[in-house]
């Protein structure tokens, strides 16, 4: 399965013809917010008026991906999102309370469903093909990816548009902060790992990919396999899952050129990554990505964009400023709240 195109709206300058992570955006506090493009240049203004922020982010990244790949109508549109269109949900529920459940405006309700983004892309394209949205917490993007892989391998589709999207809203941030997910004291995303503590920084993003069964000759990277597992009992089980995953791809950790892990600066969250890096991943160059995009359930889509970009470039300059490492195989290991764990293996075409 080949990544033919990728597009990413994130808290960094990642959308459009930007140099690859040349100037990193710094955030101080407990939240990273997406740097959004001028949507009017990308989406029909008549349609924008009903779209909330996450819908615009999803539609713009999806449409940009299709444009890059030169595909007018994909064979399938599949998205993964844990929280869906939160702002619209919040608007609708607030109005219900404020107006005593009477005279409710329809737009926020209509747009509040999780599948709005994939549906809006289909409406824009007049695409009547397979359309699905996966809402499975921290495994939402991975399940969308697995669905795309099955469609491609079974010959049901040749080109699939797949995306992972989530947004932070004022309310969701406040609720998750009360649950202890985010830092109580302000921190810079550049210092997130130098000052580990309790909680992390909230994040959001919209990363889309065109996945194709056949190589086009200009693909970014190849996805060898995707796997997710749920609530492992202990670190030994995580290690076993990683080992089984790599074995199934006839490889081992020593053949991996780069590991991308989901460290987020929270001591409890990062303990497992620390153990793996000390023993199992020892000697393998490793980077993490959540200082760039923050923590959110579909952040692995950002990680896959990062991996695909690095593979496309052929080298990774993140590990050491003085040394660039050649890339053939990249392993992404991420978990969300120690509940959903995932592994994605990518390789050069």
């Amino acid at each position: 399965m080949y990544i033919r195109a990728a597009s990413n709206i994130s808290p960094q300058n990642t959308f459009g013809n930007q140099p690859f992570l040349q100037e990193l955006a710094e955030y101080t506090g407990d939240r990273l917010s997406c740097i959004e493009p001028d949507y009017k240049a990308l989406i029909d203004p008549k349609l924008i008026r009903r779209m909330s922020r996450i819908i615009k982010m999803g539609v713009a990244a999806g449409m940009d991906c299709l444009k890059q790949a030169g595909i007018q109508i994909p064979d399938a549109i599949i998205t993964g999102t844990a929280y869906g269109c939160l702002e619209d949900t919040n608007t609708f529920l607030s109005k219900m309370v404020q107006q005593n459940e009477e005279a409710l405006a329809p737009t926020a309700f209509i747009q509040s469903t999780h599948n709005t983004i994939s549906a809006q892309i289909a409406l824009l394209l007049q695409c009547h093909q397979y359309n699905n949205t996966f809402v499975n917490g921290g495994a939402s993007f991975e399940n969308a990816l697995l669905d795309a892989m099955m469609l491609l391998y079974e010959g049901e589709a040749s080109n699939v548009l797949v995306g992972g999207i989530d947004e932070v809203t004022a309310n969701s941030h406040a609720i998750l902060k009360r649950m202890g997910l985010y830092r109580s004291q302000p921190v810079s995303n550049f210092e997130l790992f130098n000052a580990p503590g309790k909680g992390t920084m909230a994040g959001e993003g919209s990363a889309f990919f065109i996945l194709s069964k056949e190589a086009s000759g200009a693909d970014w990277a190849k996805i060898d396999s995707v796997s997710s597992f749920y609530k492992p009992r202990n670190t030994a089980e995580i290690k076993q899952q990683i080992s089984i995953f790599l074995q199934s791809q006839n490889t081992n950790i020593h053949e991996i050129d780069l590991v991308i892990t989901g460290n987020n600066g929270d001591l409890k969250n990062d303990a497992v990554y620390g153990q793996l890096q000390q023993y199992d991943f020892a000697g393998v160059p490793a980077i993490n990505y959540k200082a760039l995009c923050g923590e959110y359930p579909t952040s692995s889509a950002f990680a896959m964009w990062l991996a695909a970009h690095e593979i496309k470039n052929g080298t990774c300059s993140f590990v050491s400023e003085s040394e660039e490492i050649p890339l053939k195989k990249v392993l992404i290991y991420n978990h969300y709240q120690m509940i959903h764990h995932s592994l994605i293996l990518l390789s050069a075409c």
């Binding site: 203004p45 008026r49 329809p106 209509i110």
Partner: protein, 87 residues
């Protein structure tokens, strides 16, 4: 009536989030749906809610919708003839 028409234009722009449209861009008798302002069925629902919220006026017969929502002036006439005194 002129004040009501002016208010309605502003409220329609706000409720429907009509970007880059100013009140003076909407003619009093300009059709709101189809080739006019280009509104659609979801907008019609939003306008019904607007009349209920702001003017306490309810559309009792859905078949009257196309006639009432033809233009800003027809909406204003409907409000004037159906508003509850002192509401």
């Amino acid at each position: 009536m002129d004040k009501l028409i002016a208010d309605l234009k502003e409220q329609i722009i706000e409720q429907l989030n009509l970007q880059d449209v100013k009140p003076e861009d909407i003619g009093d008798d300009q059709p709101l749906f189809g080739d006019g302002l280009g509104l659609d069925s979801i907008d019609a629902l939003e306008l019904i809610v607007l009349l209920q919220q702001k003017y306490k006026v309810k559309l009792s017969n859905a078949e009257d919708g196309p006639k009432i929502f033809r233009s800003v002036r027809t909406i204003a006439e409907f409000i004037e003839s159906n508003k509850i005194p002192n509401a």
